[in-house]
C-alpha cells in the first residue's frame, strides 16, 4: 500500500518537474540576453530565473524612464512643431 502511494507521489512530482523544466526553457527563449547566447541551452535554471528578475526590473526602469521623457516633452514642446502634432494625435485620437 505504502509502496503504491510513494510511486504515485514520485510520478506526481516528476510531472511537475517536467512542467517546470519546460517552462524554464520557455523563459530561456524570452530573455534576449540568454537567447542570443549561442550556448543558451546550457544555462542553468537558477541563472535563467536570476536573469528573468533582472530583465523584468530593467523593463520597469525603461517604462519609468519613457514616462519621464514623455512628461518632459509635454512641458517644453513648441505647440507648432511636428513633435507636438505627434503628441496631439496620440492624445486626440
Amino acid at each position: 500500500m505504502s509502496s503504491r502511494r510513494s510511486r504515485q507521489a514520485s510520478s506526481s512530482s516528476r510531472i511537475s518537474d517536467d512542467q517546470i523544466t519546460d517552462l524554464i526553457s520557455k523563459l530561456r527563449q524570452s530573455i534576449p540576453e540568454i537567447r542570443q547566447n549561442r550556448r543558451s541551452s546550457t544555462v542553468s535554471a537558477s541563472k535563467v530565473l536570476q536573469e528573468t528578475c533582472n530583465y523584468i526590473r530593467n523593463l520597469h526602469k525603461e517604462a519609468d524612464d519613457l514616462s519621464d521623457r514623455l512628461s518632459q516633452l509635454l512641458e517644453t514642446i513648441d505647440p507648432n512643431s511636428p513633435q507636438a502634432a505627434i503628441i496631439r494625435s496620440l492624445i486626440n485620437e
Partner: protein, 195 residues
C-alpha cells in the same frame, strides 16, 4: 512568444484612451503629476490586454486603483471594472493541497540516494530564485505554486515588452528633430503593423 502587432495596437489604443481622460489636466499640472498619469495609464492599458484572465493583470489593476480609482474605472468601463477592482485576491492561488501532500511524502522518505540529494538541493536553489520573481511580478506574493508563477511571468514579460516597445516608438518619434519626424512616424507605423 514576442509581442504581436495586434497586442501593440490594442495597447496603444487603450493607452491613448487613458491619456485622453487626463487631457484636461495635462495642461495645468506639474511634470511629476503628468508623469504619474502617463505611467498609470500605460500600466492599466497593459493589464487590460488580458481582460482579467491572469493573476498579474488583476493584481496590477488593483494596485493602480489604489493610486487612481477614477482612472481605472474609466479605462475599464467596458470590462467589468467593478469586479476587477473589488475582487479579493486569495492568500494562496491554487494547488495548495497537492503541494502540501507531496511535501509531506517527501519528508516521510527516510533514505535518500545521492541523486535525490542533488535534486533536492537544486529544487531549493530554484525555490530561492523564484522568491525574487515573486517580488517583481504583480501579485507574485499570492502565487505559491511555482508552475503558476512561471506561467504568469512568461505572460507578464510579453506584456511588458509590448508596453515598452510602443512607448519607446512614441517617445522617439516625439523627441526627434523635424527632419527626422517623418522617418520616425514611418518607423512607428511599421513597428506597430509589422509586430
Amino acid at each position: 512568444m514576442q509581442p504581436t502587432s495586434s497586442m501593440k495596437e490594442e495597447f496603444l489604443k487603450k493607452w491613448q484612451m487613458g491619456l485622453q481622460i487626463y487631457r484636461p489636466l495635462i495642461d495645468n499640472t506639474s511634470v511629476s503629476e503628468r508623469r504619474k498619469a502617463i505611467k498609470l495609464s500605460a500600466d492599466v492599458a497593459m493589464a487590460s490586454l488580458r481582460k482579467g484572465t491572469t493573476c498579474w493583470s488583476r493584481a496590477l489593476i488593483q494596485k493602480t486603483a489604489t493610486e487612481d480609482n477614477f482612472l481605472v474605472r474609466q479605462m475599464l468601463s467596458g470590462i467589468k471594472a467593478e469586479t476587477l477592482i473589488n475582487k479579493k485576491l486569495p492568500k494562496v492561488m491554487c494547488h495548495r493541497k497537492i503541494v502540501r501532500r507531496s511535501k509531506k511524502i517527501l519528508r516521510r522518505r527516510q533514505s535518500r540516494s545521492a541523486i535525490e540529494e542533488v535534486a533536492a538541493k537544486a529544487r531549493k536553489l530554484v525555490k530561492k530564485k523564484t522568491q525574487g520573481l515573486r517580488n517583481v511580478v504583480p501579485g507574485g506574493e499570492f502565487m505559491s505554486n511555482d508552475v503558476l508563477l512561471i506561467q504568469e511571468t512568461l505572460d507578464y514579460i510579453v506584456s511588458l515588452q509590448t508596453q515598452v516597445n510602443v512607448m519607446r516608438s512614441i517617445v522617439d518619434a516625439a523627441e526627434a528633430g523635424s527632419e527626422r519626424t517623418a522617418y520616425y512616424l514611418g518607423k512607428l507605423k511599421f513597428a506597430i503593423e509589422d509586430g
